[in-house]
């Protein structure tokens, strides 16, 4: 495995197989925490941290603790690990930025059951990545998630000032915007396998 393949994993996860836009995972924070740029950046950072750690540690658990015999425990043990990391992150955020903690609200503990966070370690196993690849895959996925979240938050901040017909105001126009964004991301399809 050379540098190029790691780079490809990064580009692939950030743009081509973007976890929100292409895999349609992690929609809960995508719609919930994208009202302002500040919270989106905070959520992105928290998720990046959790996802990278989670994919690394779940790789180790899967490889050395579970092996092939205990494969049925995989999902369960992944959730336990992720819950632990999220708990840690939660305390850390609470200490460093109470406002962000307050703003992220329910979504911070929800990272635990966030399909994106669980999905990426499982995809790692499926793709039979090694440790470094898993880390890159996790990190890339998280960067892709943060990027889309931040872009979308920027768009939604703009939407606040737009002349939207009253029935489309709020979540409806946000959904339409998300759909258009997803269409745009389809443009990356096929760039990297």
């Amino acid at each position: 495995m050379d540098i190029q393949s790691y780079l490809l994993i990064l580009i692939g996860t950030v743009f081509v197989n973007n976890i929100i836009m292409a895999k349609i995972l992690g929609l809960c924070p995508f719609m919930g925490v994208s009202k302002s740029l500040e919270t989106a950046i905070g959520m992105g950072a928290a998720t990046t941290f959790v996802l990278t750690l989670a994919s690394g540690s779940s790789y180790l658990i899967n490889e050395y603790l579970l092996g092939t015999d205990l494969a049925y425990l995989r999902t369960l043990s992944f959730i336990v690990v992720i819950a632990g990391i999220v708990g840690f992150t939660e305390m850390f955020v609470r200490k460093t930025s109470p406002v962000l903690f307050r703003v992220l609200g329910i979504y911070l503990p929800l990272i635990t059951t966030n399909c994106a966070v669980l999905g990426i370690p499982l995809l790692n196993v499926q793709a039979q990545h090694n440790f470094i690849q898993s880390l890159f895959f996790g990190f890339g996925g998280a960067v892709g998630f943060s990027m889309v979240l931040i872009l979308f938050a920027g768009l939604r901040e703009r939407l606040e000032g737009a002349d939207v017909p009253s029935i489309f105001r709020g979540t409806s126009i946000a959904m339409i915007t998300a759909g258009l964004m997803s269409l745009a991301f389809m443009g990356f399809a096929g760039m990297v396998k």
């Binding site: 302002s36 919270t39 658990i61 603790l65 425990l73 369960l76 043990s77 336990v80 690990v81 819950a83 632990g84 708990g87 840690f88 305390m91 850390f92 609470r94 200490k95 109470p98 406002v99 307050r102 703003v103 992220l104 609200g105």
Partner: protein, 176 residues
């Protein structure tokens, strides 16, 4: 599996001690948004207690009439919750006013001085009282205790110094 759980539990326990949060600074931030009239219309004895109550989830964000819709919007944004229209049980927003004591009727009982939350009333026992207009928050707390009803609220009139540009009313072209 059990070992894993025990290990994580230990790690979390350590983190809980390490990153312990002393005081909730969110109270200060909520208090900064509240208008500090100390009027008690929210049902709490002042802005700080109300802020504490909001932070603890014991009060809604829509109980402050002097803060108006703007205040509720700001609180909603800070706390990441949905905006709620003002609860009219707690009163409705009024234009800013200051208390004025009718000095001819005042008997100098000092009851209003004791009621004023910001010490904006000047006077002494059996002496005429008067309101320092710049310090008055318009909370109306002095009106009820006055035994001779000599306190009234004067709405602050718009003057050149306080005038604000209005939101532009733009006439849009009607399509033929």
């Amino acid at each position: 599996m059990a070992g894993l759980a025990i290990f994580l539990g230990a790690a979390l326990g350590f983190a809980a001690v390490r990153f312990k949060v002393q005081e909730d600074p969110i109270v200060e931030q909520i208090d900064a948004i509240l208008p500090q009239t100390q009027c008690g219309q929210c049902g709490f004895p002042g802005c700080k207690p109300y802020a504490t109550a909001i932070a603890n989830g014991e009060a809604e964000i829509n109980q402050c009439p002097p803060g108006g819709e703007d205040g509720i919007h700001k609180l909603a944004e800070l706390l990441g919750v949905e905006f709620k229209p003002l609860n009219d049980e707690h009163g409705e927003p009024k234009p800013k006013a200051v208390a004025v004591i009718d000095e001819a009727t005042c008997i100098g009982c000092t009851l209003c001085i004791q009621a004023c939350p910001v010490d904006a009333i000047l006077g002494a026992a059996k002496q005429m009282h008067t309101v320092i207009a710049q310090e008055c928050t318009g909370c109306e707390l002095c009106i009820a205790p006055c035994p001779v009803d000599c306190i009234s609220m004067d709405t602050i009139q718009e003057a050149v110094a306080t005038w604000k540009w209005k939101y532009p009313v733009v006439q849009m072209k009607v399509r033929a």
